[in-house]
Symmetry: C2
Subunit: 189 residues, 2 copies
């Protein structure tokens, strides 16, 4: 091959390589945070390619089955970090990943908060009420244990409520979270 074609080819190879590397990294990270590896990989692929892909392209790109691709793409759409796109003259559905990284993380955070934190917080509060005896008469060891138990739960619930409020600000669709972060960083310097 001539020198003229060598460099572009090198660039194309590098791009393919970099994509694969990124997909692997993102998949690993996902799975260490409780997100199915394949789901993270599909997202990574769509994100790094940056343009709409159809199911068959995703299947081929990652070597996964149609069923898996379908399920995973749907989950990503449900989460809101991938959207369905239609192309004129093509019946196939195309999928495009959110390209705004801030928006993407806000969406993910919102989703996990809604699905995991909020129900947990509610359940914790319910659990706490279980031991909310109207009035303790005896000051015996048992009562003390109960009080200590309640204090621990209260601490935990308080913490989680605060964390919840903070995350709420980051999530807010006004994009305030972004500015907030920037401000924090400024003060940090």
């Amino acid at each position: 091959m001539s020198k003229r074609t060598d460099e572009p080819e090198h660039a194309a190879v590098a791009l393919r390589d970099a994509r694969e590397r990124f997909i692997a990294l993102w998949g690993q990270m996902g799975s260490s945070w409780g997100i199915p590896r394949t789901m993270a990989q599909v997202h990574a692929l769509l994100f790094i390619v940056g343009e709409p892909m159809n199911t068959d392209e995703v299947m081929a790109g990652l070597g996964i089955s149609r069923g898996n691709a379908s399920m995973t793409l749907r989950r990503l759409v449900d989460w809101g970090i991938v959207s369905r796109v239609h192309r004129r003259g093509d019946r196939k559905e195309y999928f495009l990943a959110e390209q705004d990284v801030w928006k993407m993380f806000r969406t993910i955070l919102a989703q996990r908060k809604k699905q995991e934190i909020d129900p947990l917080l509610e359940a914790l509060q319910e659990c706490r009420q279980t031991t909310d005896s109207p009035r303790t008469r005896k000051v015996d060891a048992e009562a003390a244990a109960l009080r200590a138990h309640n204090d621990r739960l209260d601490d935990l619930i308080t913490f989680m409520r605060i964390a919840d409020s903070i995350s709420q600000r980051f999530i807010s669709p006004t994009g305030e979270g972004l500015e907030l972060a920037a401000k924090l960083l400024d003060r940090a310097s």
Copy 2:
């Protein structure tokens, strides 16, 4: 049973119940965030009981094997949210969970940052350099794709670096994270 003993018994039952409920909740949450269910449960048990327990007590309390208890307790100690405690006149080792909820979360965050975020960030940067061609001569489609790819990676890396800096502040052992959160909340009202 007489009325006099009825209420204390009720309290004891409620406590046992609440503990179990809490342990189940915490275990669930853990597993949805990529922490082995049993590990989260052992932590929950130690946290909610609030005093040192030995391996046999943990085994009995959760119905798990000695091997599992041993491994899991060690991981919790390594993470730094459970500490080993020794009791005079007792050969057994006892384990006590960190009771300060803020400290606990700071420790967990620090651990996960160190183990997962930091390596990822480093790998991402390395991945980014892969496609850092010295100078592009041609303004063809391929070069444009490369540039777009690099922009996407740069956005992502920038975001993660900012998130990293913020989390660093929360983690900082000076406890500043706590105050910071409080301030944020004040402004949020």
